[in-house]
Point group: C2
């Protein structure tokens, strides 16, 4: 399947096809210097598959984990390209999950003020969400994605076969973003999760999730308006992730987002249905936290402009509304936990 993200001169194709990773070189020019960025969590066979298609592939294997999203990594990636004489006509290829894509994409955006970026997501999280839309970033002083660029890839190649080597918990982690996409923009996608048999419907789930995101990004590339809908569950989710997700509880991004969506559902019936879907996927539906700590993270959220924050609320699967809320009202809303 092929989708085209239509953004004028920054338009690009998203190829979603089993086995596509072995045919990237047929889809985009790899006959040049290509920085192939991956991490220690990505099976080496995928790196070999990509490098075999590159005339001058320069592999970089980053340490797996959120800590890799740093200025130091961007400097290292740029210095590696410089050392290998990369020119404006060369490219960066990301092979991995969201961390790899975010860091490699930001390096591609900065090096010589922007060279081609090719994204080959290998996790469900990246395939349904982070690989498209052009958000690249690193973290700083414990704040996620606070520094980065809007920088669209030239091509996205999502090969669902790569999900076969992904641990089940990681697969579910990514599917949390697919559930999110269903809740804000595609009731039929959400119902696919209720029907179960995820494995069987995986390609349709990936495709429908990408369609929801593509439609929103095309309307609002730089997040001045409706793109905020994609942050459904992310405001509280990011705060949980910042405060505990990566520390004691070791919760993944999608797991935190899943938790973050629950207080944003405006119907008890829908909340029951969503909880059932999360349970079936093995996602968490309950967490206790220090409300003051979570609140302090919310106050520092980069979307918390001028004392208000835009919350995304869903009453019925398939549609959302944006609500500007004064920050101080959030403290009561988040309480001391979820569930």
């Amino acid at each position: 399947m092929k989708l085209t993200m239509r953004l004028g001169p920054r338009s690009y194709d998203i190829i979603l096809r089993r086995g596509a990773l072995g045919r990237v070189g047929q889809l985009v020019n790899l006959d040049r210097s290509v920085l192939v960025v991956t991490d220690t969590g990505v099976p080496q066979q995928y790196l070999a598959t990509v490098l075999a298609q590159c005339a001058h592939g320069v592999p970089v294997v980053l340490e797996q984990g959120e800590g890799t999203k740093s200025f130091a990594t961007i400097e290292y990636l740029c210095a590696t390209m410089l050392e290998h004489g990369f020119s404006r006509a060369d490219a960066v290829l990301a092979l991995g999950g969201g961390v790899v894509g975010d860091a490699a994409g930001f390096a591609a955006a900065c090096y010589m003020r922007g060279i081609d970026f090719i994204n080959c997501p290998t996790t469900s999280l990246a395939q349904v969400d982070s690989s498209i839309g052009g958000k690249t970033a690193v973290n700083l002083a414990g704040t996620k994605n606070i520094v980065g660029a809007f920088y669209q890839p030239r091509l996205v190649v999502a090969d669902p076969d790569t999900l076969s080597t992904l641990p089940p918990r990681h697969v579910s982690n990514g599917l949390a973003e697919a559930v999110k996409a269903g809740l804000i923009g595609d009731a039929a996608l959400f119902e696919l999760f209720e029907k179960g048999d995820i494995e069987q419907n995986m390609e349709e789930i990936l495709y429908r999730s990408l369609m929801v995101k593509k439609t929103i990004v095309e309307q609002d590339e730089h997040e001045h308006g409706c793109r905020a809908a994609l942050n459904f569950g992310h405001t509280i989710g990011h705060a949980i992730e910042a405060s505990r997700g990566l520390a004691r509880h070791q919760l993944f991004h999608g797991e935190c987002v899943a938790l973050g969506t629950l207080p944003m559902l405006e119907s008890r019936a829908l909340r029951t249905r969503v909880r059932a879907v999360y349970k079936a996927l093995g996602l968490p539906v309950r967490i206790r936290y220090d409300g003051d700590e979570i609140y302090s993270h919310l106050v520092h959220d980069k979307k918390a402009a001028s004392g208000t924050i835009t919350l995304v609320k869903v009453k019925q699967a398939g549609s959302y509304r944006l609500e500007k809320t004064p920050l101080h009202e959030l403290r009561a809303m988040i309480g001391e936990g979820i569930g």
Copy 2:
């Protein structure tokens, strides 16, 4: 005088007016958090003038010099904004020369994936050239401007009064870029230099230089074509700057560019005229160098894509031509010095 850079949604005004620094707040909203970035070379009175107009000004005084253009500075600027709770609605204001503008602009481009950038150039170099056009960058591993972003300011405020505190050598350094502008795009501007009485004609010189640059940037914002003309003198100039300018000879950017233009002039008569102008301005017209070393810098020039480099040549003041040259031919062209 007001010029408008017309780049669609990224259009902005350039205000060129004596005393304008004291009225920035009337031209753009400073009633928000504003990171005011300057350096140790900028008179403190200008910083005070700007801060007095800011509701929540956060001053940052960087170390003067090219060494400041580093990843470390960008990280520091972003961390400072984060610490002070800057949101997407806040702004960065650069107050200084090209180094300050390049670093502050890149930080503005990256922080939260882009916040407002206001540029108040206080040197002749920045007022005629670097403050407009949207190129921001830092250096890496000895290579100038290898990492950065195309990021247009919201407003440029150039106050010629600030040039009164600039040492004469710095004034001439910036005027080298004005001579360049005349040579590639405005014969009358070049003739102003031949007539002498620079002080008297300063505002016209600044205005005409900005017009040349504006016209080119509007046609080719991201340097896919004719914008390369602005690199007239810069290919060899950058190489001189990288190899010796900042080390033994302590040459300034404009001085290196002036030297770099000479081998690109295609008429003996014009070369004589340009040398006379440079001499009158106190700019260098002769340098001995290690040709192999200069060549090795040229090979690493970020514009040296795929073994060729685009040179900008001028036969008659006011017009240029671009010439793709194989890198290896450059070695003979640069010889062992200029003049």
